[in-house]
């Protein structure tokens, strides 16, 4: 790597995520087909598409919860392959928020947030708690820190889940349908937190059907169907002037 030019280094640092020719199969089912995607630092990307189109699988490949079989995925310049060191390093820098929150029910809200700080980043308990309380404050739930997840509402749980990810100080956040399991009156409190994050410059990939949110924060909207990226555009043109028939059909159904 001695002959890498300064421009190349510069460029690599501005690229957060890079997928090139990525394919994935579940047994014989071809779930991702030749995905090519480059995400710049600070970019906010919304992925939408009908259920089963592979959008969740795609973002789950980015922190290797799913293993792709062909193609290259690079996160922070690290290639995701069987190298466990790379996987661990990528997972530390990539936060993920799930549809079903996936909080640890046997731990308090505060301990949910402290766990990885203490056991992955090796912070002393006191420092970990201070960091965790800071992020719980940021998602406006610090008064519930000593409760257990099941004592909270869905919207509160999802905000805790976001705080838990933020505690690791990630530079990239992945959201896998973060509001799909929520009652309607709780969606806004979670979206507010996500808008706040986006405005602070976080690199975000978000699978969602919240089109109002997409219009507010997205730099690009991707539409997927049958394992392929069918269309991508800035949000204004994506919603007002969709190009492909499938996109039109999909938007007609959800809007």
């Amino acid at each position: 790597m001695e002959n890498t030019s300064p421009e190349q280094v510069e460029q690599e640092q501005t690229i957060a995520i890079e997928l090139a020719g990525v394919h994935k199969w579940y047994d014989a089912f071809h779930v991702l087909k030749d995905i090519n995607l480059t995400v710049q630092r600070g970019e906010r990307i919304i992925i939408c598409g009908p259920s089963g189109c592979g959008k969740s699988t795609l973002i789950r490949c980015i922190n290797r919860l799913e293993v792709h079989q062909r193609g290259v995925i690079r996160v922070d310049g690290l290639e995701l392959d069987d190298n466990l060191k790379h996987i661990e390093q990528v997972r530390r820098d990539v936060g993920m928020v799930f549809q079903q929150f996936n909080l640890f029910p046997h731990l308090t809200v505060l301990d949910n947030c402290c766990l990885a700080l203490i056991w992955v980043l090796k912070k002393p308990r006191k420092e970990a708690e201070d960091i965790a309380l800071g992020y719980l404050e940021r998602v406006k739930i610090v008064d519930q820190a000593y409760k257990y997840p099941e004592q909270l509402s869905g919207g509160q749980q999802q905000r805790v889940a976001i705080a838990r990810s933020l505690c690791m100080n990630p530079s990239i956040m992945l959201f896998d349908e973060p509001t799909s399991a929520l009652d309607p009156e709780m969606i806004k409190e979670v979206l507010d937190v996500m808008v706040d994050l986006a405005q602070a410059g976080m690199t975000m990939i978000c699978v969602t059907h919240e089109m109002g949110f997409a219009r507010t924060v997205a730099d690009r909207v991707l539409f997927m169907d049958s394992g392929e990226i069918i269309e991508e555009n800035d949000p204004e043109n994506f919603f007002s002037n969709p190009q492909s028939e499938r996109t039109k059909l999909f938007l007609g159904q959800i809007l």
Binding site: N63, L65, E88, R91, R92, V94, G95, M96, F98, Q100, N102, L103, F104, P105, H106, L115, A116, W119, V120, Y148, P149, E150, Q151, R164, S165, M168
Partner: protein
């Protein structure tokens, strides 16, 4: 036209559904058939309970030092009272009796400390109890250090032996069973294969066979001059046998933890072992507390099988004392006593497991 809502006040429940009368009516006399069953059951209880109480308590003989004290009208607990020490420790020499007393006293204190609420350093005490205390207990029982005379294991017996067998079995079955359960669910072929073979092999054999093999066959395969203690061989057999059962109980617990928990642990960057120890196992074990305690209770009672390889646990000691010519014909008292001791231990475990379930419940 708008419909305006007026709040409805909270009313007390109807009288008939609360209080003693309400309870009786709902549970015992809800239908004619139910009333019939209630009366029939009461009559059966009348037939059985008073004679039992008379025999076991009211007409029973408690005081005395020999068979002459038994009037023959009820149970003669003098037999059990005089034999009590023998039932507790078997043929452990009387001069060294303080050693088991110290061990069980200490064990009792440790348990009490762990069961009482809100005491500091519980994890250290638990660690001491699991990692250090067994060695202290062994050296006190066996002796041979610091001038303590050696008490050979064939002199150990009674409740003491029952407790040793079951405690050691539990202490080994838990971690070994956990490892086997994790191995069986592993994505790596070799740990998985080994775990499956181990579990299916040990689960497919009766405990009696395991004990026979350990006492009769194992010595044949041992190299010349190496002699493993009979009790030790039984302990190894019981531990391996129970860990196979424990593995399947814990595996069902692992399966009850939602897949999202594994993913959340991965996404936070936790390694496999940290994810298992911090996230998955605490939930999995909590979910199968009834199954784990069930296995422990079964193990506690299964230890009576060591009788067939010539180890004298509580039941065997009690049975052996029936052959004493001075005390022929008191087997009922002996069996009831043994049954009561087993029940006491098993029931305590069951109650503790229910307490633990409640304590670890973190939902609403």
């Amino acid at each position: 036209m708008a419909v305006v809502h007026t709040p409805h006040p909270d009313l007390p429940p109807p009288m008939i559904s609360v209080g003693v009368v309400g309870w009786l009516r709902r549970n015992l006399f809800s239908t004619p058939l139910n009333s019939l069953f209630t009366l029939g059951s009461l009559y059966l209880l009348y037939l059985v309970v008073p004679p039992m109480v008379n025999w076991a308590l009211l007409d029973a003989d408690w005081a005395g030092t020999s068979r002459e004290a038994c009037s023959g009208e009820g149970a003669c607990w003098v037999f059990v009272r005089l034999r009590f020490l023998h039932f507790m420790v078997g043929f452990y020499p009387e001069s060294e009796l303080w050693r088991p007393v110290v061990v069980f006293g200490l064990a009792g204190l440790l348990l009490l400390y762990l069961l009482l609420k809100k005491l500091p350093y519980k994890s250290y005490v638990a660690g001491f109890g699991i990692l250090v205390f067994p060695f202290i207990a062994f050296f006190l029982f066996y002796g041979g250090l610091f001038g303590l005379p050696v008490v050979e294991t064939h002199q150990w017996g009674g409740l003491m032996l029952t407790l040793i067998l079951s405690t050691v079995g539990m202490l080994f079955a838990m971690p070994l069973g956990t490892l086997l359960a994790l191995g069986r669910r592993s994505s790596m072929a070799i740990p998985r294969g080994l775990s499956v073979v181990f579990i299916e092999l040990w689960r497919g054999v009766p405990l009696i066979t395991v004990l026979f093999m350990s006492s009769v066959l194992l010595p044949l395969f041992m190299p010349e001059g190496v002699r493993l203690d009979k009790l030790l061989r039984a302990l190894i057999g019981i531990s391996l046998f129970q860990s196979a059962y424990m593995a399947e109980v814990i595996r069902s617990g692992l399966q009850s933890v939602p897949h999202g928990q594994y993913e959340a642990a991965d996404a936070l960057g936790l390694s496999y072992w940290k994810a298992m120890l911090l996230i998955i196992l605490p939930q999995a074990l909590k979910n199968v507390i009834p199954g784990i305690v069930n296995t422990f209770i079964a193990l506690f009672k299964d230890t009576t099988l060591v009788l067939i390889i010539g180890l004298f646990d509580l039941l065997a000691t009690v049975q052996a004392s029936f052959t004493d010519s001075k005390w022929l014909g008191f087997s009922a008292e002996g069996y009831i006593f043994a049954g009561f001791v087993y029940w006491l231990f098993c029931f305590s475990m069951s109650r503790y497991s229910q307490y633990l379930e409640k304590k670890l419940h973190t939902g609403h």
